[in-house]
Symmetry: C2
Subunit: 145 residues, 2 copies
DNA sequence: TTTCTTGCAAAGACTTTGCATCCAT
DNA sequence: ATGGATGCAAAGTCTTTGCAAGAAA
């Protein structure tokens, strides 16, 4: 999704819920949107944000990320290391292939897997609402080492 | 895997590492092995264990579970609720279908998904070491409510 | 003004660990 | 007697929240 659309979506959400826009919030949102393709942890985003304004606190970044998730412009992920990571909402669903050595993350889509998942759910009479698929391995670069 | 084999595997591990068997450890292991097919949390196992010996502490259950994982007779899982759950090591790899309402867990195997995962990894030149697939949905019983 | 936001610090929820004591070998 | 095991309490991690003070609208 284009950044412009994300801003629109977010602004709609803010208006609809009578929320305000502030200096801090603007910086955090702007910085988060600059992480296109990454999967930032709260601490990482905080660090980036503080380069622009060192006064901003952890809790504000945390709450802004929650806001972005609620507004539907960010996705929260929990990979194997236990910390939350956030990525920009993208048009297409995708899963992740993660290097256990360097942490590099490749995103991929696979319709066949999605279809089988639906079948498995149906067979067990579950009404599927979501799923989580993560592949862990060692990337090419790390294999060389 | 049969309980008997698990005991054997565990005993080998204990011997190999010069670890001792104790009253507490025996009770915890026995109780854990009785949870066949379940995915117990530490607290849950502690409660079961305390029915047999109320003096046993949380840390002992915790450490025993770590031991079982190290010995290869238990698997540690992290589902969506953030708490660790433990299941008995089973011969066949399987994934989980989890009810978000009541927490019921169905285990399933699907070779096609496994194969595709390998392909995805290969295509990206990752050396696959593990994966995590969880389906979330609402089970039949909970749909009725 | 009124209501939302911020930043700090404190509280939670779990998981891990230090240590004196206890127990199996 | 040794060295591992236990229980408790304390320390870690990360995530959430209460609150007084500060900004939007």
């Amino acid at each position: 999704m284009k950044i412009k659309l994300l801003h629109e979506k977010l602004n709609n959400y803010l208006t609809k819920n009578r929320l305000k826009s502030t200096k801090q919030r603007d910086i955090i949102v702007e910085t988060f949107f600059e992480t296109q393709g990454e999967h930032v942890k709260i601490e990482e985003l905080l660090e980036l944000v503080r380069k622009k304004n060192p006064q901003i606190g952890y809790a504000t970044v945390y709450r802004t990320l929650m806001l972005l998730v609620d507004a539907g412009v960010a996705h929260q992920r929990h990979f194997h290391d236990g910390q939350s990571r956030f990525e920009i909402e993208s048009a297409h669903h995708h899963d992740h292939l993660i290097c256990t050595e360097c942490g590099k993350i490749v995103e991929f889509e696979n319709n066949t897997i999605e279809e089988i998942q639906e079948k498995v759910a149906k067979k067990n009479k579950y009404n599927l609402t979501g799923h989580k698929l993560e592949l862990y391995g060692v990337c090419e670069d790390c294999q060389k080492k």
